[in-house]
């Protein structure tokens, strides 16, 4: 995790003294006070493993020693309904620490309530059921579990997290994988601090309100001896601070259990939640410090950051190699960019971690020979520049990290960076050096997420939608014999976004693609398989199978042949009839078939499937099918299935599913061939 620079301690003066206390909204839950009347008459969903009765959190900024602290309190009550819900009685809390500063877990308490002989019996959480361990260099995890949990138990727990990291106001997730009856979050932030908030929800908030209560806290500081140092034994000076605060309150009621669906970017894009980013600190009579303000400010901060802009400023061990490529590709600038990307990929591999920053120097990266996405691609930007190209970093959020909200300028929305190149003719290129199997014209699929932010002299948004499709084209030339055995060649081209995974399989071993195809098409006997284009990344990967599909034991007078059924996708990817969230695909998709069928001597087509054309509304997709008689002995079958969009709303889902169903049914229709009696 990258952390914004901590604000330096400011001298406070002229603060308001005295204040009136605001009358706070009653909190919805008190620990240890559960009684039977608080239990709903029936669970919201009788089949749920457990149900959150109330989840209440609040974050407040308070004065502390030499600065402010964030205090987060949480009280949660869960009704365990079934044995499969027992896992909700174990809670894990990650705590961050860095540079001697840390988040501290305090006041952890909990109770289990069981109905025994008509009475609710209460048992406390014991401290010997609390464990901590070091998770990473900066994160410890505290885990605890409640005692005597059974079907019907009500459990509750509360804890506080005290943190010096004011930039990190705890986020809140309202929805869970089990139903939530009441989830409430409040924040109280004194006027010196301002946070940007990102809230998203497919469900309506029952409460979403802002108030501006008076605020009072005290702030302690070591006294200075007047000579620039601190005097030994000097007593702490206490400042009482009163000001106005911004208080926010959100409530989500009766949220059903969240369930994942296929073709989603990440559950985070669909779950109801709120996240924060520190935007501004301003103490009275002082200039404001903008931690985050505008996208321009973020860009400026990043370019000043040692691990981002600082990285781009320093020459790298690849600088001289880049200059040589500039000479080699003096006039063909795209070829130069391609060559630079190859140079970077050969020098430093991608370790699978997505980051925005470069923790290691270029020199260290070339020693390690692998790095994060941020490291590899910032090195790419710098090396493109060293080769004389106009290259800039483009920030983005990967699909798994969630969609960018452009109206909320917070740097934590990004987790990835690629290179943007502007050519003299105004054309633009987007380059990524993490995937050697992709041609330089394609970004990895994980990057295809809405839009990215370009950091150049004038920052702007650049769409990350691709014109490149996921295309599998199958051309077959089949000869049929009198026993209805099909033999011939199947030529498959994997192009665009279909190419990288096929190419990766092809490179695994000589037979890997053949094995893969045979496992999905077990009926065919493959006599040989030839792979072409394994290393020509700009071209489709082509596999040609010489195959046979056994027919009957002896000659048949009437045969029913379904060549496309044996080549096609088999099953619809849209299996479920219900859909709550939009379908989100990285790229458009096309499946195309062109089959030439040579009939056995003496046979002719007596019944052929009718042609079909099915269109989705708004040009969202189409299926096209036709059979034509090229000559008395030759038939030509053509089928094309295209999904033109990358997003389909839940309303469009029915038609999308239907398109696939009808396409599959059409492709399974037989061609009827009959032996002609002379």
């Amino acid at each position: 995790m990258k952390v914004a620079t901590l604000w330096s301690c400011a001298l406070l003066s002229g603060l308001l003294l005295n204040s009136t206390r605001s009358i706070a909204q009653d909190i919805p839950i008190h620990l240890g006070s559960f009684s039977a009347k608080e239990l709903p008459s029936a669970p919201a969903d009788t089949t749920a493993p457990a149900e959150v009765l109330c989840d209440f959190g609040q974050s407040k900024i308070e004065g502390g020693m030499d600065g402010f602290v964030v205090r987060f309190d949480r009280i949660t009550r869960v009704h365990i309904l079934r044995r499969t819900g027992y896992e909700w009685a174990t809670v894990k809390v990650p705590l961050y620490h860095r540079d001697g500063q840390q988040e501290k877990l305090q006041q952890l308490k909990g109770f289990t309530y069981n109905l025994v002989g008509g009475e609710w019996k209460k048992e406390p959480l014991k401290t010997d059921a609390v464990f901590s361990r070091k998770l990473t260099a900066n994160v410890d995890e505290y885990a605890f579990t409640l005692p005597n949990v059974r079907e019907g138990s009500v459990i509750e727990f509360s804890y506080a997290i005290l943190s010096n990291f004011v930039f990190n106001l705890q986020d809140w997730q309202f929805q869970q994988e089990i139903p939530v009856r009441w989830s409430e979050y409040r924040t109280t932030v004194p006027s010196f601090f301002r946070y940007k908030e990102i809230s998203r929800s497919y469900l309506p908030f029952a409460v979403n309100e802002t108030t501006t209560p008076f605020y009072r806290t005290s702030y302690r500081s070591k006294t200075s001896d007047g000579h620039g140092g601190y005097s030994a034994g000097a007593s702490d000076k206490v400042y009482n601070i009163s000001t106005q605060a911004v208080a926010r309150r959100w409530v989500l009621k009766d949220a059903p259990a969240f369930r994942e669906e296929p073709f989603l970017t990440t559950p985070r894009d669909y779950l109801s939640r709120v996240d924060f980013e520190l935007e501004r600190i301003q103490f009275p009579d002082q200039e404001p410090q903008f931690v985050v303000g505008t996208w321009e400010q973020i860009e400026k901060n990043l370019l000043k950051d040692e691990e981002f802009g600082g990285f781009l400023e320093r020459a790298t061990p690849l600088t001289s190699g880049a200059a040589a490529l500039a000479t080699l590709h003096a006039n063909d600038l795209p070829a130069r960019a391609d060559a630079v990307r190859t140079l970077v990929m050969q020098a430093v591999g991608y370790d699978g971690t997505n980051t925005l920053y470069a923790e290691h120097s270029a020199k260290k990266l070339l020693e390690l020979r692998h790095g994060t996405a941020g490291e590899v691609n910032l090195l790419l930007v710098r090396t493109l520049r060293d080769a004389g190209l106009t290259a800039n970093p483009l920030l983005l959020s990967t699909r798994a990290h969630g969609r960018i909200q452009t109206d909320l300028p917070v740097v934590s929305q990004f987790n990835y960076v690629v290179a943007h190149v502007t050519l003299p003719d105004g054309k633009e290129l987007l380059l990524d050096a993490t995937e050697p199997l992709l041609p330089f014209t394609l970004l990895p699929e994980r990057c295809l997420n809405n839009q990215g932010r370009l950091l150049s002299t004038t920052g702007r948004w650049v769409p990350l939608t691709t014109t490149q499709t996921h295309l599998v084209y199958t051309a077959a030339d089949f000869t049929l014999d009198a026993r209805s055995t099909i033999s011939g060649t199947i030529r498959q081209e994997y192009a665009g976004y279909a190419a990288p995974s096929a190419r990766s399989t092809a490179r695994e071993s000589e037979h890997a693609l053949r094995k893969q195809w045979q496992s999905t098409h077990p009926d065919w006997t493959v006599e040989r398989a030839d792979v072409a284009g394994t290393n020509e990344l700009g071209k489709p990967l082509v596999v040609t199978f010489t195959t046979r599909l056994a027919g009957a034991e002896e000659a048949v007078a009437t045969m029913y042949v379904r060549p496309l059924q044996h080549l096609g996708p088999g099953a619809s990817p849209f299996r479920h009839d219900e859909r709550l969230f939009p379908v989100d695909l990285p790229s458009s998709r096309r499946l195309e078939y062109s089959v030439k069928l040579h009939l056995p001597t003496g046979y002719s087509a007596t019944s052929l499937p009718t042609s079909a054309l099915i269109n989705l509304p708004n040009d969202g997709g189409r299926f096209l099918y036709s059979v034509s008689q090229l000559s008395p002995e030759t038939l030509q079958i053509t089928a094309r299935l295209a999904l033109n969009k990358t997003q389909y709303s839940p309303n469009e889902y029915v038609a999308l599913r239907e398109l696939y169903a009808r396409a599959l049914a059409k492709m399974a229709e037989p061609l009827v061939l009959t032996k002609q009696t002379k």
């Binding site: 089949t47 174990t90 059921a129 260099a137 005692p147 949990v149 009926d523």
Partner: protein, 650 residues
């Protein structure tokens, strides 16, 4: 690293690995040049072990030192996993050093691993509430191939219950140029070992080094093993030397280990006296015992009490990996790990007047059985064995970590294998329940109604029993919308809509049964084509033949899952059609399995399809592969056979 887990979790076995340190080659002396690799070792290989030296030095009854040096040439990206390393440690195992070097293709040193590049991680298994298992990791992956990495590390272990297992070729598509394994042990602490699949030149050389006995094994030029369909796991193909102590001491607990009886006694003693229940529960169980005369019913009631009042929580710290929490702790908290819950259940049963024994087992649905002829600590789980006295001679086996497990059912997690009974005088190996083709059944009855457009509605009732139950049992705990999705995901139909469904478990018998009822709408299942309609009556159980071997079959055939599938499908055909063509019956009786399929027209004009496939758990020589493939292809062909209906002339 503790070795005890719950039924619910995947099993992680960690072999301690070992050591000697070699001075780095001086600059200019190429090491492991790739050009020196014989082409026979590159075939099918993503990586080649150039040289691996492992050693196990027994320092005392309570301490061993394991060292490893391993140089691997990575040939392509798929082999790059061998360029990363994780060295495990915990409270009882300490890493003394961990070094690494990268060589380029020519064998020149390009990088030395620095301390700052080694990361310390918690080895969270994802389910333990607490564990002291940690690892140090290093990543020496390079962006271009080939290259060679070398790792060297040493682990001092105060847990000599586990000695090293030497697996010089632990994975498929990994070749080995040279590997050695050396054990040094004082004559007073004799080594026990078992060799498996050692090539003829892998013979043991024994020698003396002062007061130490020295054992050394070596293998050379092992070609990469390629994955083949229905083949044994790599552990049954590659060389292996298992070792074990005759005497050991862990955290002050001394033990001898020359027989299963020894290991049983040590484990029993370690856990003895921890089964005292609080008086209230003691009395409750005693009353339960008095109230139920039937022994099996009494055991069931105790088991139901256990399931209703406890849950599985894993806490794995130090000797806690082998020693149970006392029964009083489970009674107070309502949770425990597999040892604690088994110990608790044993105490509950005792209070109810039933004697039972804990039994160690190597759990896991894909785990191989233990080596029964080599007594050593090969277990990762414990279950409860309850011999019945008053009824017919029988045994009830109890899985104590799962609140929803059917009574007396061992499932694919612990069934079909050996377990070590823990007895005060030392116990023996016994077999857990066997689940064969007679127990593992999937019986399906379907009624399919077609309309004139070829759309169908199908009502399908499927009984899953025995190990077939395992695959679908997890669905019963889910919400209906999720059940519907998962049931849909299991259906091999191109497109359909589930209109009704239910899942009904029955856990009263010796093996559990789950009945699945489905009603489906299947559009365009058999659209008419001119005058005709084509229907594949085998709607849901079409099998495909395994892929043909590319080249010669190298490994034996292992069919490790036994089952019987029966399908009865009634096709209700619309008025105006009559059968024109029916597939001929197919009956195959082979050593690999038995198959039957037949289609007949019923008096009411509807069509009845019957299919039965029985596959026993068997093993065959690789030379039988063509015959096996032929059998599977015939089954596959018969499964696809079609019924042709034709419009009656009206």
């Amino acid at each position: 690293m503790s070795l005890f887990f719950s039924k619910l979790q995947r099993v992680v076995l960690v072999a301690g690995v070992a050591f000697p340190s070699f001075a780095l080659a001086g600059a200019g002396t190429p090491q492991y040049p790739v050009a020196a690799l014989p082409s026979s070792l590159r075939e099918n290989a993503h990586a080649v072990v150039r040289r691996q030296d492992e050693s196990l030095a027994v320092k005392s009854v309570g301490r061993t030192v394991e060292t490893t040096r391993r140089a691997v040439t990575v040939l392509d990206e798929a082999g790059s996993q061998w360029a990363t390393e994780v060295v495990y440690y915990d409270k009882l195992n300490t890493i003394t050093y961990f070094r690494g070097t990268v060589y380029d293709e020519a064998g020149r040193v390009v990088r030395q691993l620095r301390t700052a590049d080694i990361h310390d991680i918690s080895l969270s298994d994802g389910f333990s509430l607490a564990t002291d298992a940690r690892g140090r990791t290093a990543d020496l992956r390079q962006p271009s191939y080939p290259y060679t990495v070398e790792f060297e590390y040493e682990v001092v272990s105060d847990n000599p219950l586990f000695y090293s297992t030497w697996r010089p070729q632990p994975a498929e598509q990994l070749a080995v140029e040279e590997a050695t394994f050396r054990v040094l042990t004082p004559t007073s602490l004799p080594l026990r070992f078992q060799e498996r699949h050692l090539p003829s030149d892998g013979a043991l050389v024994r020698s003396k080094q002062g007061a130490l006995d020295v054992f050394q094994w070596q293998v050379r030029n092992l070609a990469a093993i390629e994955d083949e369909a229905d083949s044994p796991p790599v552990s049954e193909l590659a060389p292996m030397v298992l070792t074990a102590p005759t005497e050991f001491e862990v955290e002050g607990y001394h033990g001898r280990l020359s027989s299963w009886q020894d290991l049983s006694k040590w484990t029993y003693d370690l856990n003895a006296g921890r089964d005292v229940l609080p008086p209230a529960i003691q009395a409750q169980m005693a009353a339960l015992g008095r109230g139920e005369k039937d022994e099996r019913a009494r055991i069931r009631k105790v088991y139901e009490y256990l399931q209703a009042n406890t849950r599985y929580i894993s806490i794995q710290l130090g000797i806690g990996g082998w020693q149970t929490f006392p029964a009083s702790s489970v009674a107070a908290n309502g949770y425990g790990d597999c040892k604690a819950l088994t110990n608790y259940c044993k105490a509950l049963l005792q209070a109810a007047g039933v004697t039972s024994y804990a039994a160690l087992v190597r759990a896991g649905s894909t785990a191989q059985d233990i080596r029964t002829d080599f007594p050593s600590s090969q277990f990762n789980h414990v279950v409860l064995c309850v011999p019945l006295t008053s009824t017919r001679p029988d045994t009830v086996w109890l899985e104590c970590t799962d609140q929803t497990n059917p009574f007396g059912y061992m499932s694919s997690f612990t069934g079909n294998r050996h377990a070590l009974l823990l007895l005060p005088q030392g116990g023996r190996l016994v077999a857990t329940p066997r689940y064969g083709a007679a127990e593992n059944r999937r019986e399906r009855r379907a009624d399919v109604h077609f309309d004139l457009q070829g759309n169908a509605t199908a009502s399908i009732r499927t009984r899953h029993t025995g190990l077939e139950f395992d695959a679908i049992a997890g669905l019963t705990g889910l919400a209906p919308s999720e059940q519907k999705k998962r049931l849909g995901d299991r259906l091999p139909l191109p497109s359909f809509t589930i209109t009704k469904f239910s899942l009904t478990p029955d856990e009263s018998g010796a093996v559990p049964v789950l009945t699945e009822n489905l009603t489906l709408a299947v559009p365009a299942l058999a659209p008419p084509n001119g005058k005709r309609v084509f229907i594949t009556p085998n709607l849901l159980c079409r099998t495909s033949a395994p892929r043909a071997t590319v080249g010669e079959r190298r490994t034996d055939i292992w069919l490790s899952h036994a089952y019987t599938y029966t399908d009865t499908v009634r096709l209700h055909i619309p008025a105006g059609f009559r059968p024109e063509q029916l597939p001929a019956p197919v009956k195959l009786a082979t050593p690999f399995g038995d198959y039957l399929s037949q289609v007949q027209v019923m008096p009411d004009g509807n069509i009845l399809y019957i299919r039965r496939l029985l596959m026993p758990n068997t093993r065959f020589s690789r030379t039988d592969y063509p015959a096996y493939l032929d059998f599977r292809r015939r089954v596959s062909a018969a499964d696809k056979a079609q019924v042709v209906l034709v419009k009656t002339e009206a």
